[in-house]
Assembly symmetry: C2
Homo-oligomer: 333 residues x 2
């Protein structure tokens, strides 16, 4: 009989069923100490009135509150992020967390982080070049874990990837297999200002050659396979004697493979192609893609550890920073 259609609460059900709140609660949650008859009646009433228990109220009142962590990625359409999300999902279910995912494909990052922070207990994600101070402020007290970069302001955590040691091991191994003239397909998000990626820098340091030689910067969009293909053609045109190509990502490497195929170049005898990311997807190309693995490496374990630490009630103000020493060298079977 209310004029305003106010939310139907546990009290309404109690009144309508002629019992107390507690009894309604017992009925809804399948608790003991209630007769089957009453339970059925309460359930009927609550269905009839369209009762929807407030998860906020119940979580507030309950002792053991559920934890949920938020993951921020560019886009789930990029298999790198979706495989990463899959791994974090495993870790989450192991720790009893829920995982809520946001992509900043459409939305601007800061408002999204702010919204997300109101709904989760920790935020982890790839925040490209976003300002750390602003992120910290947007998170409003919710711990934030930066992926793929190292936090510089206290209060932010991070799990970084140290490409240098990975690249050194990679280049060594490739040389052992006969590689001599390297090339790299670097990625550059179309329309943004170009700055060398940490992958390119690690590549240049480990191959010890001048930065300008044998690097093709590909203008990549989201699905970077095509960019890799185009880049590979460009590379083969400019540096025809290249015998080993390292691509910025597995997707680009897949494009490179396609380009090589179309030119009738045999992989890996005439040319070796190596990707970065370690996508399980890399197993479906022919031949299977060799890759510097991030997915499948201990990175997610580290993330889970950092999140676990940050979620500890006592541990505010501490900062956790890790750098995975080297992505595993993984050769997809």
């Amino acid at each position: 009989m209310n004029s305003m259609p106010h939310n139907v609460t546990i009290e309404d059900i109690a009144a309508e069923a002629g019992v107390s709140r507690q009894t309604v609660s017992r009925a809804m949650n399948g608790m003991p100490r209630i007769s089957e008859k009453t339970r059925a009646r309460v359930l009927e009433v609550s269905e009839r009135l369209g009762y929807r228990p407030s998860r906020f109220a119940s979580n507030l009142a309950r002792v053991a509150k559920a934890k949920t962590v938020g993951l921020v990625v560019d886009s789930l359409r990029n298999p790198y992020y979706s495989e990463l999300a899959a791994e974090l999902l495993d870790a989450a279910s192991l720790n009893g967390w829920q995982l809520t995912i946001s992509s900043h494909e459409n939305e601007p990052v800061l408002p999204m982080v702010a919204r997300l922070a109101g709904e989760v207990d920790a935020v982890v994600g790839y925040f490209g070049e976003d300002n750390e101070e602003e992120l910290l402020a947007a998170a409003r007290g919710v711990p934030v874990v930066l992926l793929g970069r190292t936090a510089t302001v206290p209060g932010l955590h991070s799990v970084d990837i140290d490409f240098d040691s990975g690249f050194v091991a990679l280049i060594d191994e490739l040389r052992r297999r006969g590689a001599a003239r390297f090339g790299m397909l670097e990625s550059h998000i179309h329309g943004t200002e170009y700055a060398p990626s940490s992958r390119r820098l690690a590549y240049e340091r480990s191959t010890e050659h001048p930065s300008s030689s044998a690097v093709i910067v590909c203008e990549a969009e989201m699905q970077s396979v095509d960019a890799g293909e185009a880049g590979m053609h460009a590379l083969l045109d400019r540096y025809p004697d290249t015998d080993t190509v390292i691509a910025f990502s597995d997707l680009m490497a897949m494009g490179a493979l396609r380009a090589a195929h179309s030119r009738g170049i045999d992989i890996p005898s005439r040319l070796k192609v190596v990707g970065i990311d370690g996508l399980s997807l890399g197993a479906v190309t022919s031949p299977a893609l060799t890759s510097l693995a991030i997915v499948g490496s201990p990175i997610i374990e580290q993330v889970a550890e950092v999140v676990r630490a940050a979620l500890q009630p006592g541990a505010v103000g501490e900062q956790h920073r890790r750098a995975i020493p080297a992505p595993l060298w993984r050769e997809s079977a």
Copy 2:
């Protein structure tokens, strides 16, 4: 001075900073009507004491409560589900929802749905053969949307895919292009009891041929590319004059392509290969995969509509069931 390290609340900060709750709230949420000096002091104190506002309390007290929908999939490692999740993520951000994802890769479904239901306002997902009554009970009043099947018990919503009309259009088009002898690669999750999929049934109805002919049942694992490859070889051995193959999924179709390549069979002149799912991934094969599109079809729009309807406060007890008439016939460019 507390012996028990009880959760630090807004009240603690207020006391320590010598202000009221409300002032702390104003400081934390960047609201006006507070001097910069006080704000700074409150922020300092809250950081020092490690104050973490309770999202449950604030959401309970706030008027406009955030909505979040839960998505249940087999595994994000399967690109079909991750692309679907990406689409739902778009829809969610459009509607101002958060998206929390669970996979029942490891966990049993019912307890997971129960857990999820305590954290979200609606659950949508693929629940293979799970019992509808049990799902309904596990959801405890939270609306549930079944994907890829039609709800039979009232209280559950569903968005199904009508493969029949899609297949009729598909087969017509293929015949127009010269297809005459069809084959299908059917999928069967290894270790379970086999029952013909709705895709196989639609295939058989639309091609009007006895169920036993030209169907190879592949024992698929998660990454079904290999299964598709093996199945394709089997199919070509058994039915060598097949000129058109329809695979259960795009992944299997990719395997089929690989098998064809290895036999030197030209696609599409000698043999046409068609997948189902419409993965954007299908664009990276050579030639690009042709597919009955589910991803990219209006299915997600429909899901969003159903969720929106189910979230309406008034609309409990209503049931929403849709069947997308036909997946779009999509040819990946």
